[in-house]
Point group: C2
Chain length 407, copies 2
């Protein structure tokens, strides 16, 4: 792969478009060990862009599995707090954050659900200080993807291993807009389109959104003073970054107590190694009061039981059905891609910067309806049959999408 | 390699003999990414031994090189302090420490010497809090080796890559005493031999040692109240560990102001990516006053210029010439092996526990002659012609080695 010019373009796009890495800035990267060729190219581009230091933390699925195979009971409440605290310290010192994702979406599906849930909970808690700096965009950050054998096998189970990896790379390159000579220009044009959509939504100042489709009739109240975001946006350190490569969404913060109705997921959710299929939930006063899934229901219920905020919405995002990722027709089993193929909602932590004033203090955020949680889990609710209306504070209804397309 | 039973035995030896990992203890491991198969097996054995969590930090030579190729001038004074602080925090929380070494001994030999030296200095400074916890044995720790393509190529340049890697593995397994059915028993016997040698040396209470050989006439004064150590020893957390796999040495702390004379290295020193050949130095009042090398002299001079303690001794160690590592006849270009093939000295930081009272406060350590430095660099001075005498406080001379063998 190291000679594919698209891989080098993806690395350059990650640094220049995703992070907008500033000269002198430190970079903290995480990556699955199988993504090492991409991590190496990103490291090169980071130094070329003036990085003061690049530190890559490589993760290994086989080692992660050993814990579930051989670990003692107490092990599952332990997390490497010292490492996450270190990352938080780096971010407080203005280090940029880059994550390469490529995880096996079914890695933990055979393991003890209670152990997986406890381990995730311990990890989320330890990671929280670092995650808050990321989710509040204290620093510039981005996520890009690498095709790995295990992920490719889950997405293309009928292909030979090498063919599956190559097909997934093709899809990643296309979705990440690096299958052309000038990805930086392509991203500039794409960011312009997303910014125009945000301006449109912000101009309307909707009180709520109304989703309708098969199995779905959901009113999502928006937070008071919310703002729509999408595409490149400035981190609090002043650097413009694209936090997701790819990204197709415009998104904002719902009011945590104002979601009503029922909703059916339009795609399976790959959550921490388990595939949850056919999610159906019902909301009352912003809280999930009923949750079902045809597979992975136990994992779903443990997830929404993480804390009080885990059963409330922290994000609502709009993506037209006809978009480069959705059009591949591929179920990526990875949030970064699947959430950008369809309208989605997220349970858990809200993005503090999705407000007209992006620097609100914590208590003011809560007063305006921004949710707090250890988790932030996106799942897909849009498809080719999604109808969406915006509802103004005076009750006026503005049609926004019909059959998955912007009107 | 993953099916070679010796690899699994090396992993088990690392956990049971090297670390003596305690149930419930966290483990922090570092490894070159090429050593992943060994790291995975060590992770398994750690969980089987009751580890609460294993975190592996994988390093990558190609990424490390990118910094020297593309990094800006300021980059070379930067270190990932947040990561090293995190490691120190883990050790303060009683995490065990395991390092897999397998580095390319010539990785940085083509790079700007000043950049390499500055980067090492910045790293050493940032690593110091963690290193002090290791070198004072606050926690149980160990180092084991893995054969990697780059290291194997440097050791066996005339062999085909795969053959070189296999030959180096053979040598590692043999030196690490895992080429037999019961490595744990083999290590118990070996530790007994080393402990007997320590008892012998400690019984004599020598004031100094006198090394003679080709190019060498060196008197090394020993620290007041020093103690000889070797083989398994208890860390301050009460756990018996073998800090080096393999180990053949008995060692103690010299008095930092009492080394006199000249000494020639008996093997090249692979120091942070550069090979330093034919080191010759002269000491006066414990300090190096003259230093030469046939290659790498600039690196040598920068190393001893790191700080005041870098030109003084922090360790003296005795290894008979006839031992399993020396007998391979291989120049490993790696301190873990080469230092255990021959008598050696180390410049820089002393081991605080090499005293009759292993819990002396810092100022008392200094008063007794224990050296302090950001560095601790071992290099080999013994060979088949080494004669060694012990000198008692009253001047009496006790012959210890003749022609590299214990008398
Ligand atoms: Zn989203
Ligand atoms: Zn989200
Ligand atoms: Zn030594
Ligand atoms: Zn040493």
């Amino acid at each position: 792969m190291s000679t594919d010019p698209r891989l080098d373009r993806l690395a350059e796009t990650a640094i220049r478009v995703g992070l907008g890495l500033a000269p002198g800035q430190e970079l903290v990267m995480t990556a699955p060990v199988e993504a090492l060729p991409l991590a190496r190219l990103i490291t090169e581009h980071a130094y070329k862009a003036g990085a003061s230091l690049v530190t890559t933390l490589l993760s290994d699925d086989v080692s992660a599995l050993a814990r579930y195979k051989y670990g003692r009971e107490e092990s599952f409440d332990t997390a490497s707090g010292w490492l996450f605290e270190g990352m938080a310290a780096a971010f407080r010192n203005n280090a940029a954050r880059l994550a390469i994702v490529g995880d096996d979406p079914t890695l933990l599906s055979g393991q003890n659900v209670e152990h997986v849930s406890r381990a995730n909970r311990a990890r989320s808690k330890a990671y929280r200080p670092a995650l808050e700096l990321i989710s509040s965009s204290a620093i510039n950050w981005t996520i890009v993807a690498a095709s790995t054998p295990a992920w490719a096998k889950a997405v293309f189970p009928d292909d030979a291993p090498d063919a599956a990896v190559a097909k997934l790379w093709d899809a990643i390159f296309k979705a990440s807009r690096v299958d052309n000579d000038d990805p930086v220009a392509a991203w500039a044009a794409h960011n312009k389109t997303l910014h125009a959509r945000c301006d449109f939504m912000n101009g309307h100042r909707f009180a709520s959104l109304h989703f309708r489709g098969p199995g779905t009739d959901l009113k999502v109240g928006l937070a008071d003073g919310h703002a729509w975001m999408g595409g490149a946006s400035p981190a609090k350190n002043g650097i413009m970054c694209n936090a997701n490569i790819p990204t197709e969404e415009v998104f904002t913060t719902p009011h945590m107590l104002r979601t009503e109705g029922y909703v059916a997921a339009s795609k399976p959710l790959a959550h921490q190694g388990t595939l949850i299929r056919d999610i159906r939930v019902r909301f009352e006063n912003g809280n999930i009061v009923e949750a079902h899934a045809s597979t992975g229901e136990e994992v779903l219920n443990r997830m929404i039981g993480t804390d009080e905020g885990a059963r409330r919405l922290g994000e609502v995002a709009l993506v037209p059905h006809a978009n480069p990722i959705g059009q591949t027709g591929i179920l990526f089993l990875n949030t970064l891609f699947d959430e950008n193929a369809a309208c989605h909602i997220a349970l858990g932590q809200a993005y503090a910067q999705c407000f007209e004033n992006p620097n609100l203090p914590e208590d003011e955020l809560t007063r305006r309806g921004a949710n707090r949680s250890l988790i932030h889990v996106d799942w897909m609710i849009g498809n080719a049959e999604t109808d969406l209306d915006g509802i103004k504070p005076d009750g006026a209804v503005v049609p926004l999408m019909r059959q998955g397309a912007w009107v």
